[in-house]
């Protein structure tokens, strides 16, 4: 049987049995593969790193959308940077109150490929009339964008590779300029136990631009090594400490079905393990 070995770390890693390869492509310094695994369904990997799997993607996508959307409470306009697989779009589209979603993807082929080989991720969301797909570099888009958004979600790859510009101070500053007053920026920020630097570096870069900067987390099985952190940045300090009942009310009113997210998880996800708190404190 063929296997796929992740090469994210030298001394630790995960391996998948490959039942069938659906797609493999090496484009312009990128190696992309989509294959079938008995436990995780379709698995997509880029440059030796697992990007998403059908079985556990819901945790990641629900947490990067519903947490900021319900915390804000009145989101009309959403910007998604990256997220070519369409999972983020699918979750955002569940909110009937959202009027407009712009998704900026650097490579239109990624969108087409994911529609074809990972159809459950977008589940038809690309056909939603509220969605506007822009093919552009995310960093470039926020640099020249004059529109304002209530929530910006950065669904990037790892900092090594094409996604590196989405971890820079410039990018964060430009995102702030694209946020409406009291808007929220959330970003994928890696698995803290394995790469604690990503947390401290991101915190350092975001803090100058926002009154409230922190992280929340969730464990995603194929992002191995413990909880994944999401960076949370906004000027409205009350969002993180909303009364449980407020979130419950909003969640019930939205009438959304989730598999990971619920109001209790929402509140709990802002509780950080002590090793992350220590790292943030010792670095600031």
């Amino acid at each position: 049987m063929k296997t796929y070995t992740e090469t994210l770390y030298d001394s630790y890693g995960q391996e998948f049995s490959v039942d069938k390869v659906y797609f493999e492509n090496k484009t312009d310094h990128q190696h992309l593969i989509i294959f079938e695994n008995a436990k995780f369904g379709r698995v997509m990997a880029l440059d030796g790193i697992i990007q998403t799997t059908e079985a556990d993607e819901f945790i990641y996508h629900e947490m990067l959308t519903h947490v900021p959307l319900f915390a804000h409470g009145n989101v009309k306009r959403v910007l998604i940077i990256g997220g070519g697989d369409g999972g983020m779009l699918r979750e955002a589209c569940k909110h009937a109150s959202i009027e407009h979603i712009t998704q900026v993807e650097i490579d239109d082929q990624v969108v087409e490929m994911c529609k074809e080989f990972l159809p459950k991720h977008s589940a038809g969301a690309y056909d939603d009339p509220r969605v506007n797909i822009v093919i552009d570099d995310g960093a470039n888009f926020v640099c020249s964008c004059t529109e304002k958004f209530d929530v910006i979600i950065s669904d990037s790859t790892d900092p090594i590779g094409p996604g590196d510009v989405l971890f820079t101070s410039d990018f964060y500053e430009n995102c702030k300029n694209c946020l409406a007053e009291d808007g929220i920026l959330v970003t994928q920020n890696g698995v803290a136990f394995m790469q604690l630097d990503e947390v401290t570096t991101t915190a350092k870069r975001l803090k100058p631009y926002f009154n409230d900067q922190s992280f929340y987390c969730a464990a995603v099985p194929t992002y191995i090594g413990g909880v994944m952190t999401f960076a949370w940045s906004t000027n409205n300090k009350t969002y993180r400490t909303l009364n449980d009942n407020v979130i419950k009310q909003r969640f019930n009113a939205a009438d959304i079905t989730c598999r990971y997210y619920n109001p209790a998880i929402h509140a709990a996800s802002f509780a950080l393990p002590q090793y992350i708190i220590n790292a943030l404190e010792s670095d600031s």
């Binding site: 030298d10 390869v21 394995m194």
Partner: protein, 394 residues
């Protein structure tokens, strides 16, 4: 060393020359396979990393990959070659002691996480990637008695090893072993044995002084092949190495980086006489390949390749075999006694797989010799049924 054979022996080469044109290089992957198997048997337990710089050719990569070889890479260009051949990235080490940030990132993106360093400035380059990588420290030992000394340009002193490992540890960077190069085309394995012995002490010293457990020893290359002079067979060459490796702690995994040993015997050059001139008592023959081409190893690699000519004439005369370029340095052999040759006759160069086409140039805009590969081990094709015509499959 020039062998003269009867013209009846030339037919297979003439056929190849006719079919592919000259200058050409015939890459026989069966020989690669034999060499790989011989070295594997001579160094049981060692993981072999083919130093692809010696002959960076897709057929060689493919064959060795199928045999289960690993790869020693030094540049992003070499990574691209491996990528194109779909070699498994977990089985690569990046051995260039000096790297740009982009080189590190390219290697990580390919999936290579083992890197060789030999100084503090280089270790510092890994701070940002410290959670992803494992480093080998290259140590320099003297390379006496080798035609190619690899101890001067790279490698730290033995007494720097603990210091470097301490510094790496203080930066959170994982050092997992040591590496050395005993020279290239070594006449015997004294250098290897000495270096392994010293590395054993170093591994013990590192554990005592820093508490760091090293688990890899990379003994580099240096395994010889026969050019103009006889060399030790690989079994005799490796016997003392094996004996010394046996003394290492049991947990140490041994790596080796053969380049020349695997590739040199696998390639044969075929060139032809494109002109001749009588100059004094000497006949000059101008071949369509020379030291700016496949014979570049005679300049860069200190190699003198065994040659074969075909003639049924027994009388000989003084001759020069020259390359095609306008430069007077472009001479393959001079002051030789050979039978008279005709324009169109062919010259065979043996043991021409390592550092030949790899270092050849296109000076005068002469094309490089074409490499024709035979007996390539086919990629084990996975039995995957395409979903539709647009699928790109393994």
């Amino acid at each position: 060393m020039i062998r003269i054979e009867p013209t009846s022996q030339a037919s297979q080469y003439q056929q190849l020359a006719k079919q592919h044109g000259t200058p050409m290089l015939l890459l026989d992957c069966d020989v690669l396979t034999q060499q790989f198997n011989s070295l594997s048997e001579a160094l049981p337990g060692a993981e072999l990393f083919y130093a692809i710089k010696a002959l960076p050719h897709p057929a060689a990569i493919q064959t060795l990959d199928e045999l289960g070889a690993n790869f020693d890479i030094a540049t992003s260009g070499e990574i691209e070659l491996l990528c194109a051949q779909k070699a498994r990235p977990r089985k690569t080490i990046h051995t260039h002691p000096i790297k740009r940030d982009k080189d590190i990132r390219d290697a990580l993106r390919f999936g290579c996480t083992t890197f060789v360093v030999d100084n503090i400035y280089e270790i510092e380059k890994f701070v940002d990637y410290r959670h992803r990588v494992g480093l080998l420290i290259r140590v320099s030992f003297p390379n006496p008695n080798t035609p190619i000394d690899l101890s001067r340009k790279f490698g730290c002193r033995e007494d720097e090893v603990c210091l470097l490992i301490n510094k790496a540890q203080s930066m959170g960077i994982h050092v997992k072993g040591l590496s050395f190069h005993a020279g290239s085309q070594c006449p015997d394995s004294h250098n290897h044995v000495h270096a392994i012995r010293q590395c054993k002490h170093l591994i013990e010293e590192v554990q005592q002084q820093t508490g760091k457990l090293l688990s890899i020893l990379d003994i580099g290359g240096g395994f010889p092949v026969q050019y103009d002079k006889p060399v030790m067979d690989i079994e005799s060459f490796c016997a003392p190495i094996r004996a010394e490796l046996y003394k290492l702690p049991e947990h140490i995994q041994v790596y080796a980086e053969p380049g020349r040993y695997l590739s040199a015997p696998a390639m044969t050059s075929i060139s032809s006489v494109m002109g001749k001139a009588k100059r004094g008592d000497t006949t000059w023959y101008y071949l369509d390949d020379g030291v700016y081409g496949s014979y570049s190893g005679q300049l860069f690699d200190h190699a003198i390749y065994p040659l074969t000519l075909f003639s049924d004439i027994t009388q000989t005369e003084c001759a020069v075999l020259a390359g095609p370029t306008c430069d007077s340095i472009d001479v393959i052999a001079e002051n030789i006694e050979i039978p008279p040759l005709n324009i169109g006759d062919i010259l065979i160069g043996h043991q021409m797989g390592a550092y030949t086409s790899a270092t050849s140039t296109e000076f005068n805009l002469f094309d490089k010799a074409r490499i024709v590969a035979i007996n390539v081990i086919e990629k084990t094709v996975s039995k995957i049924v395409p979903l539709n015509k647009n699928d790109q499959l393994l």
